[in-house]
């Protein structure tokens, strides 16, 4: 059965190849296109198709039509390497993908050896860029530690806190955020961590830990976790008259936090993804999706669309698909995308994409500029 299937797939592929007689510029799209995580991978393929169609209708790129080569990694590391090999043998100029951090990491070595640059719309694992192992890797989504970095910078620079208490809910997300925050505070050297503690989610009250914060004389509390604990902590802080700023993460940037903590949430800060919905390119990208598929775009569609723009613009500016020249453009030239005006830093993270700080003002989250 498998053999028959692959034979069909092969002949289908050959059919496609024979149709595309003229030389094309190939861009690979890798990610889970089937299986239970397909909903994360499909939007990227749609973004690639839609943007390629638009470019092709306007005369193509470097005089060639763009051809999108899709390759399914089912989000699995062991399959991702085969996926990568397939795209390498297709001689793609650039790869949009992969989607999952684990699969991305597994595949990156293969692309690196072949001299192919990769841009992921969704792989957020910090080590992918921070380790420096993969100079061919770029991404249009902020890494997991970016919001911790933003929260710390904001607390030390804008709020001028010298003593910071870092509290988390012991969960993967909250503790991860708190550990990054602690690391950045210590690296920054502008403030000291006076308290680093985990609280038990769902406990009946947090007065003891709030009293401890008060005793530590912290100017600010950075909390990693979700809104139920955050609202209890900020309420207890206000009731116990603890004079400290409250800064938290995306898990708290939720209207339920304001609803539950009520007046006590006033003045609290939280980081959250930048709101791009007023961006013209964002509107255009989403309008194209709705026109083509008559449904709302799925996860990472905006990031994938932005990546397509960044990739094609870089190739256009470089005038070639040469690896060194294209990556140099990516790192030096700003480009307008649905997620804002971005370029890439030395390690491949997008500058200008990512998170903003919000503050609760009059019962609403307002972006702090």
């Amino acid at each position: 059965m498998r053999k028959i299937l692959s034979a069909i797939a092969l002949s289908a592929l050959m059919a496609v190849a024979s149709v595309a007689t003229a030389e094309t510029l190939k861009i690979g799209v890798a990610g889970p296109h089937s299986g239970d995580l397909a909903s994360y991978g499909i939007p990227a393929t749609r973004a690639a198709d839609l943007y390629a169609k638009e470019i092709n209708a306007n005369g193509g790129l470097l005089g060639m039509q763009i051809e999108i080569i899709k390759s399914d990694d089912v989000c699995k590391q062991e399959i991702a390497v085969n996926t990568a090999n397939k795209l390498v043998s297709e001689k793609v100029a650039f790869v949009l993908g992969h989607i999952c951090s684990g699969a991305t990491k597994a595949a990156l070595g293969t692309y690196k050896d072949a001299g192919i640059a990769v841009m992921s719309p969704s792989a957020t694992n910090p080590a992918l860029t921070k380790s420096g192992d993969y100079p061919n890797f770029f991404r249009t989504i902020a890494p997991d530690d970016a919001q911790a970095k933003l929260a710390v910078d904001f607390t030390t620079d804008k709020l001028n806190a010298k003593k910071i208490a870092v509290i988390h809910d012991k969960g993967d997300y909250g503790k991860g955020f708190a550990e990054f925050a602690k690391m950045f505070i210590e690296e920054g050297g502008k403030a000291e961590v006076v308290l680093f503690e985990g609280v038990t989610p769902g406990a009946v009250d947090y007065t003891a830990v709030v009293q401890k914060v008060k005793r530590s004389k912290a100017n600010a509390v950075i909390f990693g976790g979700y809104h139920p604990e955050a609202s209890k902590i900020i309420t207890a802080m206000k009731k116990k008259k603890v004079d400290a700023f409250f800064v938290s993460d995306d898990g708290v940037k939720d209207d339920t936090f304001i609803k539950v903590a009520g007046e006590y949430s006033e003045g609290g800060y939280a980081t959250g993804p930048k709101d791009n919905s007023s961006n013209d390119l964002y509107k255009k990208a989403h309008a194209a999706h709705e026109a083509a598929y008559s449904e709302k775009a799925g996860a990472f569609y905006t990031e994938a669309y932005s990546a397509m723009i960044a990739i094609t613009e870089a190739i256009k500016a470089a005038g070639t698909t040469d690896y060194d020249k294209v990556t140099a453009v990516l790192k030096n030239q700003w480009v307008e995308t649905p997620i804002g005006k971005i370029k890439f830093d030395e390690r491949g993270d997008a500058i200008g994409a990512g998170f903003s700080v919000y503050q609760v003002q009059n019962g609403k989250y307002v972006e702090v500029k």
Binding site: G202, V204, D205, A208, V209, P228, K232, V260, A261, Y264
Partner: protein
Amino acid sequence: MEYFLELFLSGLTRGSIYALIALGYTMVYGIIQLINFAHGEIYMIGAFTALIAASVLTIMGWPTIAIFIVATIAAVVYSSAYGFTIEKIAYKPLRNAPRLSPLISAIGMSLFLQNYVLLAQTSDFLPFPQLIPDFEFMEPISHIFSTAELAIVLTTVIVMLLLTYFIKFTNMGKAMRATAQDKKMALLIGINVDMVISVTFIIGSALAALGGVLIANHIGQLNFYIGFIAGIKAFTAAVLGGIGSIPGAVLGALILGWTESFATGYISSDYEDVFAFALLVLILIFRPAGLLGRSETKKV
């Protein structure tokens, strides 16, 4: 020193919260040797009832203190009805079954009630209005000890005293003790055992509901799941103090509250639960029946 006092008071509040729930656990266990796992859910239902009543009355423009009183009465009555019904449906038919059966039934009831509230209400956290106003005279020390906390501690003390009086000196209390000692013998001397058990469930549920209102008022939020963790902690407190003993439940709850509070304050809140449960293990090793529990000699 002030820090010690702050932790002491925070532990006292926490302990009193556990005590209000633990009293119901311990009463039911004392009478029919059943660990009523659905007790935490009764507490949650009490808080929800009070929230609904308070929301309606707020729209009608009642004064806060009247809302508080009426909402509390509504919560107590409604929860007592739940406690009564649960006993009739889930435990009474199993009274002569092996001891494991009612226990499983209790766990089932707990899950049922959680999911029932989840479906009937919402899975979101809801804000609970502050129903007990902050008293003027408490203002200077409110950063250490607020009115809501005072209300919890006072209620616990009063409830404990009333319960002790009730069980020691009233006819119903005597009937309860008789039933606890020997159900068959109590029946033979003309005690309506079914009624005694029902009354026990009603009182236990009423206390849980009272706790639900006061605690929700203190922390300002609730959802369908709050009963689970509170219930587990209260159960621990009841075992710690000697399950079946009224003063034991309060003592156990206070010790648990202080252990957690001081462990958080002086060591780390990461290990709050570790200390609480390590203490439980230690006490049970040296006093298997709990601090104030009587160890029963088995008659062969």
